[in-house]
Symmetry: C2
Subunit: 391 residues, 2 copies
């Protein structure tokens, strides 16, 4: 018999997605393949996800009328970004099932709660301290040392709301630089590699995690991911164990990403948790075409009460982000014809009209006999692409 | 330098698609991955393709105002079904580029012209004769024999507009059975296998054909396709040569399907052309997930002037159609959770609410070490699925 607590969303049902970026877009496309409809809710009228669904709500996240109508129009609600206002999630959860559970947001939206949660499970993070004023910071620096990083507890992403503290940094200035907001100080981690694990957990508690991904950031933005990560089996197993334990402890439903650092430790390594993203994640884009089931389909399956798919990779895969450059402008992508010439490279373009520095405009994936060749192919295809201002 | 005659449609451009069925739906999803927008034109308000695009025109194909607005809103026009009225295609072609060229429709919409075109290229078809009245039919039966098949020259598909002529059939009755329309009589072909080749031709004349597919029909509807087809290399090469020559002779731009019969011929085989479909085709659905580039992406690339992708298959693949049953009703798909359990089987559901006998509701693909195992997996996954009336 079907468990009445597990939703049975089937073709014809509608998934409501909060957020209209590329993650919502790729979620909607994965849902469509299974005959599920999506309804995108986003304030931005140029949302890339609007382009691939029939039903949209263009409204602010605080607009009660629009939220109520949205809830009425859908069968289940999910989100593609972690900074959904808690009031919004709560308002919706009183009307429709929301997965992952909005309680997860309370933990992951606050860097301090998140780190306390991770350490409560027995996992390591960078050393950290709660900072509410410049005096806290001065004291914490004595313990944690420099260099270190001051980060606001809330609403930071892609390097926003954080500042590096070096030998010469004045604590009071640093605190004002992050807006004098409640913050945490984090020790600098001399990591050898950055990795992540994308894990999915279903309503039935089953978990499927994808292979460990190795990530390279530049200027706080993900530049590329590689699978398999160049880590030994012990590190890979530990990374997956951490992500799966976190998913379990949160009674999570859907796909989450856990970003981690691999740090030398004597003759071996240790794995520190950096961040939890309660959503599909840029470092899991390689699964789209690179694994038997993509992270997007996996999330759809999980929240709908469908069985999780196989996470097995097709082979060594690289994902290279296609980032914008220059100041904000309407621009056209050039060079697609060249980028498409390599049969092993796959181009994904998010359909964003406006380009600016570091904006995520698309990504490329490449499968090859080994990870380095995959990366080379991905990079070569990306190098063909550029923008020109619309005339 | 770019050839000014070759369109340069790039991310941000809009493709207009005539027809809103599953083929338009899968074309639109392939276009979205490349950042291209699609605008679907279809009279049916429940068109499955409407669900995956932002812009639609719900209007009749003879509605000049709606067609003119549609043409103004798009950069290039294509179609997902071969029975686009020639006037509609011509009206649009005076306003926007239409690919494949509407001239192709004149050839392929008329079974007589199509067969004459194929034989003019030196390829074989079933013996055929033009039938304009019962007397023509009586005379032709003396030459072509029984059993044979009488088919209307125009607007036949999935077995519509045709009747089998056996020993006892009265020619006058048979002719009235197909509506006393201009028709052709075709000899019965004692084929060993049915195969098809999906080929793409670009504006630059380059051609890429997918591996030969073996098809099994039941009650005039495609039931399943298998790649590789169980034919020898000579037959496979001949089948591809035929499809590629046809694409070339039509100066075709886009994806076309050529359905063929493999007939024993002495110690070997001969290949007869059965039908040309100037569009993506059900027997090419296996390419979605089963080949480096899908037929849908290939068609988008071709009509946009982008380089064709690699057609290489990932391995032995089976495609099994998910057909409706019973009388017309609103119904829900059951059993998806079971169909999704095999990690090697992929389920595609077209989002159609109404189910009826033989309606194409979705399809399943499976990749396995050999074609027969792939077929078994596809069939097993399909067997899990059924419909229940909406309550």
């Amino acid at each position: 018999m079907a468990d009445p607590n597990i939703p049975q969303l089937r073709p014809g049902a509608t998934i409501g997605i909060l957020g209209g970026g590329q993650l919502g877009r790729m979620l909607a496309m994965a849902a469509a393949r299974l005959g599920l409809h999506c309804h995108i809710y986003c304030p931005d009228k140029e949302s890339p996800a609007f382009d691939v669904v029939r039903r949209i709500s263009q409204a602010e996240y605080g607009d009660g009328n629009a939220l109520a109508k949205f809830a009425d129009a859908v069968d289940v609600i999910t989100y593609e970004f972690e900074n959904v206002p808690v009031e919004t999630a709560g308002f919706l959860a009183r009307r429709r099932p929301v997965w992952p559970d909005p309680n997860v947001l309370a933990t992951t939206q606050d860097r301090l709660s998140e780190k306390q949660f991770v350490t409560s499970l027995g996992f390591q993070t960078a050393a950290f301290a709660e900072i509410n004023n410049a005096e806290d910071l001065t004291r914490a620096l004595e313990k944690i040392g420099r260099p270190s990083v001051l980060k606001t507890r809330r609403f930071g992403y892609d390097g926003k709301g954080q500042t590096k503290i070096v030998a010469a940094t004045d604590p009071a200035l640093a605190f004002s630089e992050v807006g004098a907001e409640p913050s945490i100080l984090e020790a600098f981690v001399p990591f050898e590699r950055e990795i992540s694990v994308i894990a999915a957990r279903g309503h039935d508690g089953r978990i499927a995690s994808f292979d460990v991904t190795e990530n390279e950031h530049g200027d706080h933005i993900l530049r590329r991911s590689l699978v398999p990560a160049a880590v030994n089996v012990a590190v890979a197993a530990e990374a997956r164990r951490i992500a799966e334990r976190i998913a379990d402890a949160l009674k999570y439903v859907g796909v989450l990403a856990v970003e981690m650092f691999v740090v030398p430790n004597g003759a071996g390594h240790k794995v520190l948790v950096n961040e939890i993203a309660p959503r599909v994640h840029n470092s899991g884009h390689w699964t789209l075409g690179g694994a038997a089931t993509s992270q997007f389909e996996q999330h759809v399956r999980a929240i709908c009460g469908l069985p999780l798919g196989a996470p097995a990779p097709h082979g060594p895969t690289a994902m290279v982000n296609l980032l914008g450059s220059g100041s904000d402008r309407a621009a056209q992508l050039l060079g697609l014809e060249d980028a498409l010439r390599d049969p092993g490279a796959h181009v994904h373009v998010y359909g964003k009209r406006r380009v600016f520095e570091r904006r995520k405009m698309g990504h490329l994936t490449a499968i090859a006999p080994d990870a380095e060749s995959a990366l080379e192919r991905g990079r070569a295809a990306r190098a063909a692409l550029s923008w020109v201002c619309e005339t």
